[in-house]
């Protein structure tokens, strides 16, 4: 055994004859254990922790007493002058605890068992000399760092340091801190504790709410002023003393740690008081200097100016005069348009956000190594948050232009830096690097790919930029490297064999499980981050996926889908990184596989060859961790598509049963993923398989899911949400409904169009149609009688056009509401489940074959009354407010009408059955005037199918159906769409209604005539943008254009009622893609799910 401290010395701590003796023993003990992990372990087993903690508690009591005796005078004892032997003993004890905590993960459980953490925190609340505070913070940081290391078997140790009041109070008043003093060191320690331990959702929101995030932002701003990033002329009273160079990177990573995973927190950072103040004054100064532009160098460019092509529609407002801060970033492009432009607060906010992003990028460019990596991570988080929140407000052309500028900056200036970092990571360091550089190199290897992934994942352009910078090759070679055999570090040598000689079994003397060996943990982190980068790079472009596969990493992904076997750590041999993977790696591998599986060609070739279905199914079926099950299910979702060769194999293996089991389980996210997967499975499958899916779910469950949980009490649900209301000052088109929900009639359609269509090649055309749509606002006013029960995601986010701080605050509180309100979350989740369940039914009864049989099956098992009743309920208003009805969320309406469309397209028998459902048809009527054009289109399609003459024997039936429809007012509803704002709607409408007002097609001859017409329409530009928008235009292979990381939704509607020979679209090889919208609707589901995940935590 390693000599050194003995049981006697521990005894001496406990029963020291004098304080001096105790201090001497403690000091000796400290010198013995520092740097010697074996000795640390030994003394822990001998029970050193308890006496150390006792010293702390004794000291607390003593301080308490002394404080009580000092009749509320100033506690001058808490200064260096009052350094007592008790203090010395306490300092030594704290330092020993800190040193033990540095020993690694295994030391954390015994320390926690003795409540070392809470006693340390207690030290922070009592007035103690600064040396003790510093030592305490160091010990806490060591504890937090060791606890955050990867463990075996993926168990987590969580220490909630920030939930406690004491940690909160320990955060010093940053305004008072002299950065060079001991307080500066303490501040750095606290911030680094934040950076390490802000890993849980609760800790992060706690830090945001208690104002720590604002403090950090203030430090950053103050650094910028001190280092003259801006020509700042405002008052500096607002800002704390600037942090030192050493503190800055810690501040950056602490901010990144807090804001990651939440748009609300990211926006809180961007809109924090300090940053607003900083840019407002930098801006004012700049504004003045524009009047006297002769002074050179007054507006030094932070970033090189980039040429960003202007879009036509914004040419008259290409630069915002309300917020010139961005100009200080890009001075060359300053064509001020001067007065006469009214600018909304919203655009000022966007300018501000862009300025923050540019400034962070500027700092990243100044830094090197790991610091640069930290800064880039923050840039990525901020950039994504801006994108995500401007997605929520209706994009105006001007803000689109701003977003494009920012994207350009990121792609030209940030991505090359990230790629460079990865290059550094790939290079083998020279063997005799000093330790510090070695550590830095490892850190870059572990996180550089993550940073790249974070930067590029939301944007196709950025992905392309990264690929252009050579990212794929580097990332792939990094991934391959993680499978290299590592020379496992040999354990420390000791003269005696390690006998397990401790007898007591107190928790505080039992070591916890060791962390992964550091080499393996390193390989795991590198692998995880490389896989994340692959998932992000292959997110949208098929060519990228091809390049990734060519780099030969499919086998690596396969190997990364394999968890560590249960006995991996019990075995004798050392664990190698080839043996398995930790949970985070599994998740990253799933998302990489998901990315690649979006390519049909790869799905049918490389991925089948690799037999990727097998490990994924294993994970779905058997892995104990929920998040892994969800990740694997999301990939399986793509493997179950109609064209996937793995579909049948998975069914044989029992995927239906596993999915059904997970759907009925309690986890909502897993339910949603599984429901989505089974929906894909039902599409165009054999009759047997469809029935099997249906039976496994059970009609009872399905009915329950469609009914939903919240609908019966809409008032309670929405008032509980308390969504704030914004009354649009200018337009007056949007009005809050009585439920307090913002019903914005402008944005659903226009925002969709802008988002989807405008990235395309035919930009010119889009611009004009965009203008047209803005003009079309008036039309939407007509339909303001209809209100849709939004799921509260989109509509409340337009900031009001009044004073800036008020608006920012309100903006933030709305965001927070959306992210954090459990009611809203539950409601959203419920909407998703209802939508997916309806889509499942729809896929069940769709397709060229088995339509009638499946409808019959459905009617038989659910019961026709029940089924139609359900659908009627979904179309009916949830509640009435005054004379305004409130309906279900649009996504549900769309799903319901799609189901109806399929029934409409079935046999005359089913058509008659549908026509007989008078309440259903009555409830349907108002939706013909839905604000969402997709709803209007499918409504017309269904009417088209319903009045279709199947054959000669159906002629009478069709006439009868048409008569019924007129009676119920549906014909009138269709006629009203004649002057619809949407061209597509107008064209469909023309096809439906005949000049003579008859509803059925008189003869086959005229059908063929109409077919020609339809082809002309096709030749025109109506369908083409739609198809491109849906991602099924010319590049059918690229399936997931429309999806944002979410599983592919592919249930093409086959309007079987229009017999294939006569269908106007037949011959073009296209089926009308009515529904690919569903998942881009409310907002991209993946992001929704992400947001919900965090709330779940």
């Amino acid at each position: 055994m390693v000599a050194g401290p003995s049981a006697e010395s521990i005894e001496a701590i406990r029963n020291a004859p004098s304080l001096e003796h105790q201090i001497a023993t403690l000091r000796q003990l400290k010198n013995d254990i520092v740097g010697h992990d074996q000795r640390k372990e030994l003394i822990v087993k001998q029970g050193v922790i308890q006496p150390l903690v006792d010293i702390l508690t004794a000291a607390h009591k003593a301080t308490g007493k002394r404080r009580a005796s000092e009749d509320n005078g100033v506690s001058t004892s808490a200064t260096e002058g009052g350094w007592s032997p008790e203090n010395e003993a306490r300092l030594q004890a704290i330092q020993i605890i800190g040193s033990l905590a540095n020993g690694g993960r295994a030391f954390v459980p015994p320390l926690l068992a003795a409540h070392a953490d809470s006693h340390l925190l207690e030290c922070l609340t009592t007035p103690v000399p600064p040396r003790i505070t510093t030592a305490t913070l160091q010990a806490l940081r060591s504890l937090a760092t060791s606890a955050s290391l990867d463990g075996q078997n993926d168990e987590q140790i969580s220490i909630d340091l920030f939930g406690s009041e004491s940690m909160q109070s320990a955060f010093p008043d940053i305004q008072q801190i002299d950065q060079s003093s001991a307080a500066g060191v303490q501040l750095r320690l606290i911030i680094s504790i934040i950076a390490v331990s802000a890993t849980t959702e609760s800790a992060r929101s706690h830090l945001t709410e208690s104002g720590r995030l604002d403090d950090l932002a203030a430090l950053l701003a103050s650094y910028a002023i001190a280092n003259q990033h801006f020509d700042y002329r405002g008052s500096t009273d607002l800002f704390p003393p600037p942090p030192s160079e050493a503190t800055l990177p810690v501040v950056l990573s602490a901010i990144a740690a807090i804001i990651s995973g939440s748009n609300f927190r990211a926006q809180s950072f961007i809109l924090s008081r300090a940053l607003r103040g900083l840019f407002a004054h930098a801006a004012t100064q700049f504004w003045e200097s524009r009047a006297f532009p002769a002074r050179p160098g007054s507006a030094a460019a932070l970033l090189p100016s980039l040429h960003v092509p202007q879009t036509k529609s914004v040419s008259f407002t290409n630069s915002s005069s309300a917020f010139p801060a961005l100009k200080s970033l890009q001075p060359e492009r300053g064509q001020y348009s001067g007065a006469g432009i009214t600018l909304t607060q919203q655009s000022a906010d966007i300018e501000h956000a862009n300025a923050v992003c540019g400034w962070l990028l500027f700092m990243a460019r100044l830094m090197h190594g790991t610091n640069r990596m930290k800064a880039l991570r923050l840039v990525a988080l901020v950039n994504n948050a801006i994108d995500a929140s401007s997605e929520l407000v209706s994009p105006r052309s001007e803000s689109l232009q701003r977003a494009r500028e920012r994207e350009k900056q990121i792609s030209m200036l940030a991505i090359p830096l990230a790629a460079q970092l990865i290059q550094t990571a790939v290079e083998v360091p020279s063997p005799d690097l000093p330790t510090a550089d070695d550590r830095e190199h490892r850190e870059i290897q572990e996180h550089a790919c993550d940073v790249l992934a974070e930067l590029v994942h939301p944007s196709q352009e950025l992905q392309a930029a990264a690929v252009h910078a050579g990212a794929i090759k580097r990332v792939c070679s990094l991934l391959k490297k993680t499978f290299d055999a590592v020379s496992p570090s040999k354990p420390m040598w000791s003269a005696k064999s390690n006998s397990n000689d401790h007898v007591t079994s107190l928790d505080s003397t039992t070591m916890g499980t060791r962390g992964l060996p550091s080499e393996v943990a390193h390989a795991m982190r590198c692998r995880q981050s490389a896989l994340n980068a692959i998932a992000a790079l292959g997110g949208t472009h098929d060519t990228h996926r091809g390049a990734i596969i060519e780099a030969g990493i499919v086998q690596c992904i396969m190997d990364s889908l394999k968890p560590f076997p249960a006995d991996a750590f019990a075995g004798k041999g050392p664990v190698s990184p080839k043996d398995g993977n930790t949970v985070p790696v599994l998740l990253a591998a799933c998302s990489a596989a998901q990315s690649l599986s979006r390519s049909v060609s790869k799905l049918r070739t490389t991925l089948v060859d690799a037999a990727i279905a097998h490990p994924l199914f294993e994970l779905t079926k058997n892995h104990p961790d929920r998040s892994v099950q969800i990740g694997a299910t999301d990939v399986i979702c793509n493997l179950l598509l109609e064209f996937s060769p793995m579909r049948d194999e998975l069914v044989t293996q029992g995927v239906v049963e596993v999915l059904a089991r997970n759907i009925k389980g309690s986890d909502m996210d897993l339910r949603l993923s599984s429901l989505w997967a089974i929906k894909h499975l039902a599409l165009n499958n054999t009759k047997e398989c469809r029935i099997r899916c249906f039976e496994e779910l059970g009609s009872g469950w399905l009915v329950g899911a469609i009914q939903g949980e919240y609908d019966h009490n809409p008032l309670a649900a929405s008032s509980g949400g308390g969504v704030s209301v914004w009354q649009s000052a200018g337009s007056g088109l949007s009005a809050p409904n009585a439920a307090g929900e913002q019903v914005d009639l402008l944005n659903p359609t226009t925002s969709m169009d802008v988002d989807e269509g405008y990235g395309g090649d035919n930009g010119e055309e889009d611009e004009s149609s965009h203008d047209e749509e803005e003009d079309g606002e008036v039309m939407l006013d007509e339909s303001s009688g209809t209100h849709y029960h939004t799921s509260g995601i989109r509509s409340t986010l337009q900031p009001p056009a009044d004073s800036s701080s008020l608006s920012a605050d309100r903006h933030l509180s709305a965001m927070r509401e959306m992210e954090q309100d459990p009611n809203l979350r539950a409601k959203r989740m419920d909407v998703f489940v209802q939508e997916q369940s309806l889509d499942f039914i729809r896929n069940l009864i769709s397709g060229p074959d088995h339509v009638e049989a499946m409808i019959d099956h459905l009617l038989q098992h659910i019961g026709s009354e029940k089924l139609f009743g359900l659908l009627t309920e979904k179309l009916s208003p949830l509640a009435e407010f005054g004379n305004r009805p409130l309906y279900h969320a649009t996504s549900i309406i769309i799903a319901v009408i799609h189901v109806l469309t399929h029934i409409c397209g079935s046999s005359p028998r089913h058509k008659s059955l549908l026509i007989a459902q008078v309440p259903l048809l009555r409830a349907w009527v108002p939706h013909f005037a839905h604000t969402d054009r997709r709803v209007r289109i499918i409504c017309i399609w269904s009417m088209n199918s319903l009045t279709w003459v199947e054959d000669d024997s159906d002629r009478e039936g069709a006439r009868e159906r048409a008569r019924k429809l007129r009676e119920l007012g549906l014909e009138q509803a269709v006629r009203k769409l004649e002057n619809d704002v949407d061209l597509d709607v107008r064209e469909r409408q023309k096809e439906s209604v005949h000049d003579d007002g008859l509803w059925f097609r008189p003869s086959a001859r005229s059908i063929s005539g109409r077919g020609r017409e339809a082809e002309e329409v096709l030749d025109g530009d109506i369908l083409a943008p739609v198809l491109v928008e849906l991602g099924i235009g010319p590049s059918t292979a690229n399936l997931s254009n429309a999806t944002d990381g979410a599983p592919l939704e592919s249930s093409q509607t086959h309007l079987s009622g229009l017999s294939s020979a006569a269908h106007p679209l037949v011959g073009t090889g296209l089926t009308l893609p009515l529904d690919c919208y569903t998942d881009v609707y409310i907002f991209p589901l993946a992001r929704a799910r992400e947001a919900l995940d965090q709330l779940d935590a």
Binding site: V34, Q95, S99, S181
Partner: protein
């Protein structure tokens, strides 16, 4: 474009102010550990006093201990300043322990050369120390292993026959290097710059000179004769005593 004239002009424009030069000197005195000189200099040049005189003194004490071979004492002092320094820098810790082992061996060797006798058991403390302190870490990294083996080899040779590669371990230069590393580590743990500004300035100048010579530019200002650019710890001279 870059005529000598414009260069000269630029140099003129860039003429550093007196206070900047004073600041650089002060910075050197503080980070290299000359508290007495720093205080005096502050008085003479009307600069404000260095903030943390006690911190400088602490570093000086550690350095003096290492320079005079009292390694155990130095380890104790470093742990007193901040135990994390050695806990989180295993290599630094190893270097100190290696130095301590060398010192133990050195005393034995000195005794040997005085008495002209070799007694194997004289080395016993050294072997015990190596077993307890150094060898546990040795297998974890080949660098440690080599260093330990080389150090142990000191016991094999008599001072006269010792090969140069081992003899360099007995050189006091090694102490200076470790002392300088420790100084840096302490500064780093406090979040301060680990190097005096003047060192990087001199390095920048040396680099520029090399570049100029490579570019065959002959009109150069007279070269600086200081070798501070490559020298690690240049001097345990006068003001080291605190």
């Amino acid at each position: 474009m870059h005529s000598p004239y414009s260069f000269e002009k630029k140099v003129e424009e860039m003429k550093p102010s007196k206070s900047d030069i004073n600041w650089v000197i002060m910075d050197y005195l503080v980070s290299e550990g000359y508290p007495g000189a720093a205080e005096k200099f502050a008085q003479e040049s009307n600069l404000c006093q260095p903030t943390d005189v006690e911190g400088i003194r602490e570093r000086v004490r550690v350095r003096n201990a290492i320079h005079s071979g009292r390694i155990e004492e130095a380890i104790g002092m470093v742990n007193e300043i901040d135990p994390e320094i050695l806990d989180l820098n295993p290599q630094l810790h190893f270097q100190l322990l290696q130095l301590q082992l060398i010192e133990i061996i050195r005393t034995v060797l000195d005794k040997q050369s005085a008495q002209k006798t070799v007694a194997a058991r004289d080395f016993l403390p050294a072997i015990t120390f190596a077993t307890e302190q150094l060898s546990p870490r040795a297998p974890t990294d080949p660098r440690y292993l080599t260093a330990l083996e080389e150090t142990m080899a000191l016991m094999v040779y008599t001072p006269e026959k010792m090969p140069a590669e081992f003899k360099k371990l007995l050189d006091v230069k090694l102490r200076e290097k470790v002392a300088s590393d420790i100084n840096k580590a302490i500064l780093e743990s406090r979040g301060e710059r680990t190097e005096a500004k003047i060192r990087s300035l001199v390095r920048a100048r040396a680099w520029a000179e090399t570049q100029a010579m490579e570019a065959k530019i002959t009109v150069l200002p007279s070269p600086i004769r200081l070798d501070a650019a490559n020298n690690h710890a240049n001097g345990d001279d006068d003001s080291m005593s605190s």
